[in-house]
């Protein structure tokens, strides 16, 4: 399996193919619905973002509180489609990659191909396992949002699937077709 370092080089992203499994190590930023709304409001108003997300990767995740003696609480992807309204704005601003689960809108697929970004999927509902891939978790913005605050994560060997590659190929569509071809 490919081992990748995050934040990603654009060249590395352009070499990934939809459906490929990878493990990533490095730094991610969490953001869900409420944080996306605030980020896009700031960009629309021409303001600086509270966190510099240029070239960074956003993980659509709201972990459980960190229990004593652990680096992070349980963590995993939330449904990406709820971020679709905000994603083209953030990709055009300069976010490189996203991690979530589920299919994206046509507008997001276009923006991914236009910007050479990549959308990764993490397995949903494997949050106890994924917590073991988190080495550090700290709030860096919007603390008032609780679990929806932006957190900086240091991750090690986090397993992901390339869901939409930088050319806009969709592993969801391809995977279902491949299975149905094989089973018939």
């Amino acid at each position: 399996m490919k081992q990748l370092t995050v934040p990603f080089d654009k060249e590395v992203l352009s070499g990934l193919v939809a459906g490929e499994n990878v493990e990533i190590t490095g730094v991610l930023y969490t953001a869900r619905d409420a944080a996306h709304a605030r980020l896009c409001m700031a960009l629309d108003a021409g303001e600086e973002l509270s966190v510099d997300l240029l070239g960074q990767t956003i993980f659509y995740a709201g972990p459980t509180p960190t229990p004593p003696g652990r680096a992070s609480g349980a963590i995993g992807p939330t449904t990406s489609m709820r971020m679709d309204a905000y994603t083209p704005t953030l990709l055009r601003y300069g976010v490189n990659a996203m991690i979530g689960k589920g299919e994206r809108s046509a507008a997001v697929m276009e923006a991914i191909a236009e910007c050479g970004a990549v959308y990764f999927a993490a397995i949903g509902g494997c949050a106890a396992y994924m917590a073991s891939c988190i080495e550090k978790c700290e709030v860096v913005a919007y603390d008032d949002l609780g679990t929806e605050s932006i957190k900086r994560l240091e991750v090690k060997n986090l397993p992901l699937t390339v869901a939409v590659d930088s050319r806009g190929n969709d592993a969801y569509e391809q995977g279902v077709h491949a299975y149905l071809r094989q089973s018939r």
């Binding site: 409420a34 972990p63 349980a74 509902g125 949050a127 396992y129 995977g175 299975y179």
Partner: protein, 283 residues
């Protein structure tokens, strides 16, 4: 005359707190069994690997007392109150809400509830719970806590079909719901289907059908056959675990039917993920 049995509100609060933590960290045996069976039967290799990881996650959650999923849900609480029970020291609903607040705080569970659906401010302790109270015979209090994650809840649907649409209309609506949900609700999914009643009752039936996680065949052979047919039809969609293709899209479909009006055929589908969970206790 029956004697009245007293149950203190504090006891209820503590029981609910314990149930919240238990439900979020311990996958019901029935669901775990379905996952194991799916791991064995799944013919598509990448799908099989995903199912194995999902099963391993449930093992880790149990061993390390960690939540199975980070979405520890909105707490849905069913309280069956024996009519010979007298609750002392406070109100039942208040005791349940307090238990949810305590469980989600003490158990390091995620607080995912906002106080108003439009203005959206987090309440900070995962309250309020959604509470269903039923008066039953006896002098016991039976409570079930079923934390509901919204990745799957958002994919649920309700339709007021007409009698002429009949069984074919119901089947089409259920399968269409699974298809529209796609990868979003973290398949493999579990479906609770309500048929009949009224607008609000059919949604409750669907939730009850999902949450009770029945492992026995439906007592009515007609609905037993329908559950099996719908499960097979959904698994032919090829969505597979996490939506990347495979045989295992639905672990189970469970139906609850109720009498309805001559003019109506309400149907509701409550979508659950592979972390469909609950815990219950009798006081």
């Amino acid at each position: 005359m029956n004697t009245v049995r007293e149950i203190h509100a504090d006891e209820i609060t503590q029981a609910v707190a314990d149930l919240c933590i238990k439900a979020c960290t311990l996958l019901p045996d029935a669901v775990y069994g379905m996952l194991c069976k799916a791991c064995e039967c799944e013919p598509y290799m990448s799908a099989k690997e995903t199912l194995k990881l999902i099963r391993r996650n449930a093992d880790i959650a149990k061993e390390q007392h960690m939540p199975i999923c980070q979405d520890t849900g909105m707490a849905v609480v069913y309280a069956e109150v024996g009519q010979d029970v007298h609750i002392v020291g406070g109100l039942l609903e208040k005791a349940i809400h307090a238990g949810v607040a305590k469980g989600y705080t003490d158990g390091y569970l995620r607080k995912s509830v906002v106080s108003d659906p439009i203005r959206r401010e987090n309440t900070g302790d995962n309250t309020p719970a959604v509470i269903h109270i039923k008066l039953v015979a006896g002098d016991k209090l039976h409570m079930t806590v079923a934390p509901k994650g919204f990745g799957s809840e958002n994919m649920s649907r309700l339709a007021m079909l007409t009698p002429s649409q009949g069984i074919d209309g119901v089947k089409a609506f259920v399968v269409e719901t699974a298809k529209l949900a796609g990868a979003n609700p973290c398949p493999p999914i579990m479906l609770g289907v309500g048929i009949g009643g009224t607008f609000e009752r059919v949604a409750e039936l669907a939730k009850e059908a999902l949450i009770e996680i029945r492992t026995q065949p439906h007592p009515d052979p007609y609905y037993d056959a329908l559950e099996k047919e719908l499960t097979a039809a959904i698994n032919e969609l090829g969505i597979g675990p996490q939506g990347f293709g495979g045989q295992t899209t639905a672990l189970s479909v469970r139906i609850k039917a109720f009498p309805t009006h001559i003019a109506g055929l309400p149907v509701a589908v409550n979508v659950g993920c592979h972390v469909t969970r609950h815990a219950d206790v009798t006081l």
